[in-house]
Symmetry: C2
Subunit: 373 residues, 2 copies
């Protein structure tokens, strides 16, 4: 398969069933349920929301708001347990078999009789990664799933991967994250030739850790990948790359720091305005709102866990109703865009090239040349 | 030694000689020389600047600006080679023995006849770390030097360490970075009880890498350290901690991403203002300038490489003249505050407690208890 096939891999048609973890997130269950009700307005005919959580809580909420829970677009799946935000992921998934996270990810598996095409949670990220891996399994030849967040940067969207699924990856994991995020950028962001970069402490080839250098070798040797080299933190928001590959600790810290930084900066601006000229505050407010509307993660809710055999979306822990609404929209887009089908083809193509062997040969030859001199 | 001794360790008095690498940085040598000339205005009697670099370039520059280079406050040290920004650090330091970075760090060593009390470079960071370690050596019992950047966050200054000297640290390295940055916050920022935190992907104890968990155990078991636990990226700018410990890759990426993010955000604000109401642009400009003045790294130039036997400051590659001026001021403050003397005492005190052994015992006992259940 060439890159044209990545573009032309069939998109999924037909109705999409979106499973939503009602119990996950700082503002669950109310904000999640409210987001689901809002999302009903966006649902095309045939698409469904599967609400997974404490049945009585869900029914009471819908009842109070006059939403009929025999609405054919809604299905309620009872799950009486909750895996808390701070709970151990592996223990939680093993022990709480009647939790919303476990039951929902079981429904995300290909062979489940009431299968969801995509599942969404704003709950414990580690537990979601563990449950998705355990119950939905991985796509063929994918070693570890990774989270790919689309950041609405000033110059355009940037896909950052991994955003926290795998804080101690191997080079092969990061390499596959790059391959998968490249497919995502092509299929969902309609970028015909994403520039793929690797995060490092400097742009020079000699810099970085063993992990980074080995990942670089793999990305460099991959046919049909527009690998452009290292970028530094300051280039991230500057339109230097379309896909940025890094480990889960760096990716997670970068995203959260940017979020905190933006908040602090707006606070600082507000404080300065108040001190400098209070009459400017109301004038500046609509400008802030417009910037928020463009860049706010609440409007770009949910990030796919790439590499899972099925579709699994993770939303920000502090998701509000509008975050969930946006995330449900993104879930449906992801399924319809045929991302997984394209990833399967792309990974198989790259496997056929045996890139790790190419790298070993290249490095061996380079060493020989060095000796010859 | 107790913590009172950290506070009362003798400050260095007497004149301070500051070595400056004239050839390092994106805007070298002009911006560096200009910054040095500006810094002359701040120099108290007896303090000196030692300008290290291409002698003719330095003399011509001073000559053209009417600065007498027989000024007793100035010394010029010829170094005809330059280690470039992108050059391999270890090769550069080994091969370019007549470079400004090599000659300046040699002058930073305790036994050099024309010793500098502190040296400053905006050049190749890796080469500075390598040259400082090689020629100035480490403080007693310090395993690896680390960069500690003081970030002027909204709620007050935060010391981030390591900012890029050591991208693949061991737990003991990060632990010592925490100890040393704690001393820095006490002595230079006059914080009587800095809250020390460890950067992680979540605040829950179960989260993170092996490196992070082992560092946590060491920090937790250290007597007299106000260790407050994990923080996430979003807490960094929110006043959650006074000292933040992380590996050089995460620290470097976080700082540079924040820098890039702030720039992008101001650009976005300007663009929105222009579109929304162009008359607001000139009104908003002084506000931006005030925020910049408070938060701009150019005004807070230079970060110490902690753990070196002597004082070594690293400035931002894109340092301007005012950055160098501010950095020279910070260099002199660092020496006068007696930071190294306090670090030596603090590390010796902690060594006497044998913290790694305490951690091993604590973990062994915990494991036994687990088995007993």
């Amino acid at each position: 398969m060439g890159l044209d096939d990545v573009k032309s891999a069939p998109s999924t048609t037909g109705p999409v069933r979106v499973g939503v973890d009602i119990m996950g997130g700082d503002h669950a269950p109310d904000a999640i349920l409210k987001g689901c009700v809002m999302a009903l307005d966006d649902l095309p005919p045939g698409d469904q929301l599967v609400l997974v959580g404490k049945g009585r809580v869900i029914r009471d909420y819908l009842d109070e708001r006059g939403v009929r829970f025999d609405d054919p677009r809604l299905e309620i799946v009872d799950a009486e347990q909750v895996i808390d935000m701070g709970e151990s992921a592996s223990l939680g998934v093993r022990r709480k078999t009647d939790s919303s996270i476990v039951k929902m990810h079981q429904m995300g598996a290909k062979d489940h009789p009431r299968r969801c095409d995509v599942v969404l949670s704003a709950g414990n990220t580690g537990a979601c990664v563990a449950a998705a891996t355990l119950f939905m399994r991985r796509l063929p030849n994918v070693m570890r799933p990774g989270i790919a967040v689309t950041v609405p940067a000033f110059h355009g969207p940037v896909v950052l991967t991994d955003a926290g699924a795998n804080p101690e990856p191997k080079p092969e994991h990061l390499w596959q994250y790059g391959l998968m995020a490249d497919v995502l950028a092509r299929r969902v962001l309609n970028n015909p030739n994403p520039r793929v970069a690797l995060m490092n402490i400097g742009s020079e080839e000699a810099k970085g850790t063993g992990l980074i250098k080995q990942t670089r070798d793999l990305l460099k040797a991959t046919p049909g990948l527009n690998y452009i080299g290292y970028i530094e933190g300051r280039d991230f928001f500057d339109g230097a790359a379309d896909v940025v590959v890094t480990d889960g600790l760096v990716g997670n810290t970068l995203l959260k720091a940017a979020e905190g930084m933006a908040k602090s900066l707006f606070k600082a601006i507000a404080a300065e305005l108040l001190e400098f000229d209070p009459t400017l505050v109301p004038k500046f407010e609509p400008v802030v709102k417009r910037i928020y509307a463009k860049n706010d993660y609440h409007e770009h809710g949910g990030a796919p866990l790439l590499g899972i055999n099925g579709a699994c979306f993770i939303a920000h822990g502090s998701s509000e109703a509008r975050t969930i609404r946006a995330a449900i929209r993104n879930c449906r887009t992801f399924v319809r865009a045929g991302v997984n089908e394209a990833i399967i083809k792309r990974i198989a193509e790259v496997e056929a090239h045996n890139v790790p062997e190419l790298v070993r040969q290249a490095n061996g030859e380079a060493a020989d040349e060095g000796v010859r001199v």
